[in-house]
Subunit: 452 residues, 2 copies
């Protein structure tokens, strides 16, 4: 094992270079930018590391999945699957980036660029861990599978269909999730759950063209109408006012609360990082951790109407639009919640508000007493010296589909420093954490192969 | 007089060409685009028509005023002043234009382009009217002055300072306003007043950078905060909720109401033009005309936060912004209203909302019984066959400053078809109306010079 870990150290420059190559290939799924090119690049990256790979397609118009598969000679009865994604978030607002978003520029211990952390940085740690095993032992300690999708940042719309279609090909005994945070004390956060998501766009059109704003006395203003509609969705404390929204939500169990109590959260670092004075509703301590793991949200992700550039334009807009992401917790069904939203708008007199659903995903949580969790804890302690267990990530991923279709436990662990600015300008990955995580993945492979 | 009006007909192709040249020179004051170039072009256009011209400057950073002055040989004791502007509104949204916004393209009876109607089209009718007098009689029937500013579309911020500085140079006995609408029955609308305006931008910054939207459970969302703040400003019927907002507003006089009753408003054409089913609060008939002339507004002209492009981005925005134009009616002081807005936000707990004032202008109305109004009515009847008197335009202009500083009555009359899409994509001017208005201006000059 030591030789393998030493090879990871020796191989770090190659890891960095391969990550830079991946960053330099834009792959913005929201804009269908570079998706096919990136899938090919990722497939070749797997092959270069000795991992046989193929590109799987569900149907036309759907981003392909890059599949990788190495059979273990000595232990062909146990399979570990790495789930990752090669697509990235849009880069806007462009003017806030210090470098080109696809530069892969290195400054000290950091590699900058969209996808450097989320998720190309995580992907490269998995690939390089397998590469080191292959280089040193000529084998892997268990079968390894890679499922690398291209639509994660637009809600993994087709992952469930892919999982069902290739259920046999993807069959496995454990899934390492696509990302994992590392806290400010350099402890990896072992994540056992993900929130769900319902992403919708509400739009209102009042007239067929913008008008001179002097006409606001007689032509209805869609921006005002949208403000009125929004105000019915949530009160100023953040409580969602849609009928039955929280109906299926259950409180935390005692063991969950115990885990939450142990989770670290550095309020001051967090405040400094985001330049904020306090938290929503002046939350502190356990309240913050409970909110991150278990509070549903109704977040305005985008809002636009009329003239938004510099200066003053006296215009009456013809339309207004809002993008909302609702985070969901276990037992909340995205389709049911969407129906509740539709009913709410109708019953409150907003039948003129059009709803477009971008995607829906249910929440998932893995049982903290699953043996797979114990193996990962061991590996994390050996590579990082310490770790934290997280009941549920505040973010969303298609974990629910993996658990449901493949029937395997899913755990997230990775290299992403918690202030890595993922989804924001100047996203970066930390080289020290990429290295440690690659070693941790090697150790997970080893421990996972030794236990039943 | 007949010879002069015939010359206007003969000269119409020259008018069209000169208007195209003016349209093709962008002059967007909101972006400081082409302002100096357009001032020079306008000054040369005056000179080409035989009107001595100079460019006046207040101070650095302020758009110049193009001044034109023709002394009358036979009647040097009476002066008519044309107030116009050479700047135009921004052209966004670009994708809705059928041609380049600065093309000056002709299709049948229409000339398209930003400024074709507002205000380069109006300006050219005044210039060509003077040109025809000069060509045929070698003189003008009274002194003629042109005051053509470059900041009308950004609130005429410096017109009052210009008027005060050049009070003597600009002294006059009557002002023809920069624009005038023509209704769908081809009747010019003789406008006696303008509403005032308070244009502000409210902004909220919650954090120093955009964050992953999963953090919405703990980081405040500025878009929600803005929605909360906006909702305190106006109720869903359009009533402004700021304390004392309507305090100085007086009801219409009986004679105003009589004039309003006679004003035409073609509800069906209007609905068809804007593709709307009804009016604000289901207004009809006199209520619509009263609103246009006398209702203060709180219009959302622009609203933006977060990700506004296509697709779904799960982002928690760091800031949110709204542009609001409040239309004011006589006796409302923009500065006083701004102070009321500031106080309102503070008292409602929104001290974190930053207010930026773009401009303020008071409303103005000219007395319907002023002899100047009678002269214009006569000219309008002779050139158009009919006319309408309008108590107050729904829009805003610095009429208040002219009335106050120059002490002359101001009346608006012009060539702008009421559905000319000014301030919107595909703005156009109608050639038949440009021709009739040029003749009408000739007749106004004649009648004005003959009366005391």
């Amino acid at each position: 094992m030591n030789q393998i870990l030493k090879h990871v150290d020796k191989n770090i420059n190659r890891l960095i270079k391969d990550l830079q190559i991946l960053i330099r290939q834009p792959s913005v799924s929201a804009k269908n930018q570079g998706i096919e090119e990136c899938a090919k690049l990722v497939s070749n990256t797997l092959k270069k590391s000795g991992i046989p790979s193929e590109i799987l397609r569900l149907k036309k118009g759907v981003a392909p999945i890059v599949f990788g598969h190495v059979r273990s000679k000595k232990n062909p009865n146990k399979t570990l699957l790495f789930y990752n994604h090669y697509d990235v978030q849009p880069v806007e607002p462009l003017e806030l980036w210090e470098d080109d978003p696809f530069s892969g520029k290195i400054r000290g211990n950091k590699i900058f660029g969209r996808g450097s952390a989320d998720d190309k940085g995580e992907l490269i740690t998995r690939i390089k861990a397998v590469e080191s095993f292959l280089k040193i032992t000529g084998d892997v300690p268990c079968n390894i599978k890679f499922v690398i999708e291209g639509e994660e940042e637009i809600g993994s719309t087709n992952i469930e269909a892919y999982l069902k279609r290739f259920r046999k090909k993807f069959s496995c005994d454990g899934v390492i999730w696509e990302f994992g945070y590392v806290d400010s004390k350099n402890r990896p956060i072992i994540g056992l759950g993900m929130k769900g998501l319902l992403y919708v766009e509400l739009s209102i059109k009042e007239s067929i063209r913008d008008a001179h704003s002097s006409l606001a006395v007689i032509i209805k203003n869609p921006a005002w109408r949208l403000v009125d509609a929004l105000k019915t969705l949530q009160d100023s404390s953040g409580k969602i006012l849609i009928k039955d929204w929280y109906r299926e939500v259950t409180p935390f169990s005692k063991s969950d609360l115990k885990l939450l109590g142990k989770e670290p959260f550095d309020e001051n670092s967090f405040k400094k990082e985001y330049g904020i004075k306090g938290f929503v509703n002046d939350k502190r301590g356990l309240e913050i951790k409970k909110a991150l793991a278990g509070d549903p949200t109704c977040n305005i992700a985008g809002l636009v109407s009329g003239y938004t550039l510099d200066g003053a334009k006296t215009v009456l807009p013809s339309s207004a639009l809002v993008k909302i992401d609702f985070r969901l917790v276990p037992n909340m069904d995205p389709k049911k919640q969407l129906a509740r939203l539709q009913k709410h708008l109708k019953q409150n007199g907003f039948s003129d508000v059009k709803i477009k659903m971008y995607h829906g995903e249910a929440a998932a949580r893995t049982n903290p007493s699953d043996p797979f969790v114990a193996q990962i804890k061991e590996a994390a302690r050996e590579s990082f010296g310490d770790f934290v267990v997280n009941v549920s990530n505040a973010g969303t991923g298609p974990m629910h589909s993996f658990v449901n279709v493949l029937g395997a436990p899913c755990v997230s662990i990775g290299s992403t420093y918690m202030f890595s600015r993922i989804h924001s300008p100047n996203e970066f990955a930390r080289i020290d954490l990429l290295r440690k995580t690659t070693k941790c993945i090697c150790l997970i492979m080893d421990k996972f192969s030794k236990h039943d």
